[in-house]
């Protein structure tokens, strides 16, 4: 099991009801982790609509997760 922190922004934060949660997971990469969280919180986005960041850097969906990682799923951005 890997111990992670998940931070949420925008719609995901509102649907999760929190800006941050601790998470113990058996998933080795962000892809299946997102599917689990999506089912739990009812997120509307498919993984293909999102990007993922680990420890404040964009990473590929196959990035291996490690204890203590902070994971953020990035909904479609609307800055500017």
């Amino acid at each position: 099991m890997t111990t992670l922190r998940i931070d949420y922004f925008a719609q995901l934060r509102e649907l999760a009801g929190t800006a941050s949660e601790a998470c113990e997971t058996a998933h080795a990469t962000p892809g299946p982790l997102y599917e689990e969280l999506r089912a739990r919180h009812g997120f509307p986005f498919k993984a293909s609509q999102l990007r993922v960041a680990v420890n404040d850097a964009f990473v590929p969906w196959e990035h291996p997760l490690a204890d203590g990682d902070v994971v953020v799923f990035i909904p479609p951005v609307t800055g500017g």
């Binding site: 931070d7 922004f9 925008a10 719609q11 934060r13 293909s48 609509q49 990007r51 960041a53 404040d56 850097a57 964009f58 953020v72 990035i74 909904p75 479609p76 951005v77 609307t78 800055g79 500017g80």
Partner: protein
């Protein structure tokens, strides 16, 4: 200036208005003969709905890194002297400046091209989300217009 903004200071996320004078200062270098800037202002309507104001939520640690990276890409791609950008976080009213980009260069071609590059990249890559407040309606997260672009961009 916070530690997070200190990376180079040329890209910043601001929680209150910043003066144009402060934003422009780093661009005044000796070889600069042309200056191009772009600003995004909060409009009073979006897709037909009357807008009162909006909130920008920013994933700040990542936005600062990505913003600096965009500026660095512009410096490498175009013959410019300097590039600066600022994105607002928090609550803004109609008419407020949401984003500011300034580029100085020896010649105007490079200044225009780099400024355009930076705003286009900010809009597709910067982890920032806009929630609009409507006159007589519920606030809404604005839907992304660049979804395809955003996700093919760095694949």
């Amino acid at each position: 200036m916070s530690v997070r903004q200190a990376q180079s200071g040329l890209f910043r996320v601001a929680h209150a208005p910043v003066s144009l004078e402060a934003l422009r200062a780093p661009l005044h270098v000796a070889e600069a003969g042309g200056f191009c800037s772009f600003e995004g202002w909060v409009r009073n309507r979006n897709e037909g709905l009357p807008v009162e104001g909006l909130d920008y939520e920013v994933y700040e640690a990542l936005a600062l890194k990505e913003g600096e990276k965009i500026l660095q890409e512009a410096r490498e791609k175009f013959a410019i002297a300097q590039a600066v950008a600022m994105h607002r976080a928090g609550s803004l009213k109609v008419g407020d400046m949401a984003v500011w980009i300034g580029v100085s260069a020896p010649h105007r071609d490079a200044a225009f091209q780099a400024c355009r590059y930076i705003i286009d990249e900010i809009k597709t890559r910067l982890p920032v989300w806009k929630r609009e407040h409507y006159v007589g309606g519920e606030p809404q997260w604005v839907a992304c217009h660049h979804q395809g672009a955003a996700h093919t961009h760095h694949s």
